[in-house]
Subunit: 178 residues, 2 copies
DNA sequence: TATTGTTATACTCTATAACTATA
DNA sequence: TATAGTTATAGAGTATAACAATA
């Protein structure tokens, strides 16, 4: 989503839940609530969720070159160029030359980038607490456990869904897709 | 969704999860898995998820006029026109004149529309089963229950508006505690 | 010739606004 | 004047393709 989110958010209706109150519906509501919260935090970073992903990778020195990073995050390499332009403009990451292969640009986080990332992570934890605020600590633990077990299995079945998409695509109306 | 989701064949880096294995990550993976399956089912309906929502409302005779339906679903009224054009073109819904107010168009589902909706619902149940396949029936029930409780609460934060507003509230910096 | 990164173009989706017809 | 619906225009976002530099 990059941009501060258009306003055309399509959500589920009131009494006419398309999926009734079944799993898909509840899952969607909870996910979108989390996604919205995450967006509020991550929206400040240029490129939104994807900027956050890039920043995370850069901060842990796992970013590598632009194209390898793009491939890993499922971002088009041409889009990666624009995203990095924006991040670099705000001094959150830097493109450094690779002595070994001068075609490559190595992506690294600046001190300012690390700082901003750290802040975002803290705030994301608060969002999480807010979402889980409706149930007991014990139930919250159960939920985490169940979701993690499902996620592990699903991830093994189809590694296509990269994690960022999780918090990340949250913001993208397109990705919400239902 | 909208677009059949790019080619994101992205392998999620195991140890580098931006959010670790916390809630947001697991939630995102599970949601995305469901969304992907749902997309396969609903993608056949013109307008995708929104077409499905419209069809659902129309089939239960709760659609009403175009603009009231649009408002309820959080869809722009101009977009509603296009969506209905597509749905009508495939004989899934009809626009019927309202004798009381000739400005209004009452949206109703055609037999073909009801049939297609019924098929989609059946298939969505299969998707759900697939997602929950990794855990026991008892755990699945627990998960459903917990998610429903969270969803109800999140939804209840703003009973007047649609889910969009509810989620937005969760996203507000104040709610997050900033 | 293949690959990294950049730039230019076209396409999709959506919102804004202007328009018609009813009220 | 206000509202329901339609149509036209413009914008954001993204993918496709053409390009430059390096291998």
């Amino acid at each position: 989503m990059a941009a501060p989110e258009p306003h055309g958010d399509t959500r589920a209706p009131e009494g006419t839940s398309p999926l009734g109150d079944d799993l898909g519906f509840a899952l969607g509501v909870v996910f979108r609530a989390y996604a919205k919260g995450a967006q509020a935090v991550i929206g400040k970073i240029p490129g939104g969720p994807r900027g956050y992903q890039i920043l995370t990778a850069a901060a842990s020195d796992e970013a590598g070159s632009q194209s390898s990073l793009a491939q890993r995050l499922g971002i088009d390499r041409t889009v990666m160029t624009y995203l990095l332009d924006d991040l670099e403009r705000q001094d959150l990451v830097r493109r450094e030359p690779d002595p070994a292969d001068r075609r490559n640009r190595h992506i690294v986080a600046t001190p300012r980038g690390r700082e901003q990332l750290c802040d975002a992570e803290k705030q994301l934890r608060l969002v999480e607490d807010h979402i889980l605020g409706g149930i007991s600590a014990e139930d919250a633990g159960t939920l985490r456990d169940l979701l993690r077990r499902l996620a592990e299995r699903l991830h093994g079945l189809d590694p296509t869904g990269n994690l960022c998409s999780a918090a990340a695509e949250a913001a993208s109306p397109a990705a919400i897709g239902l």
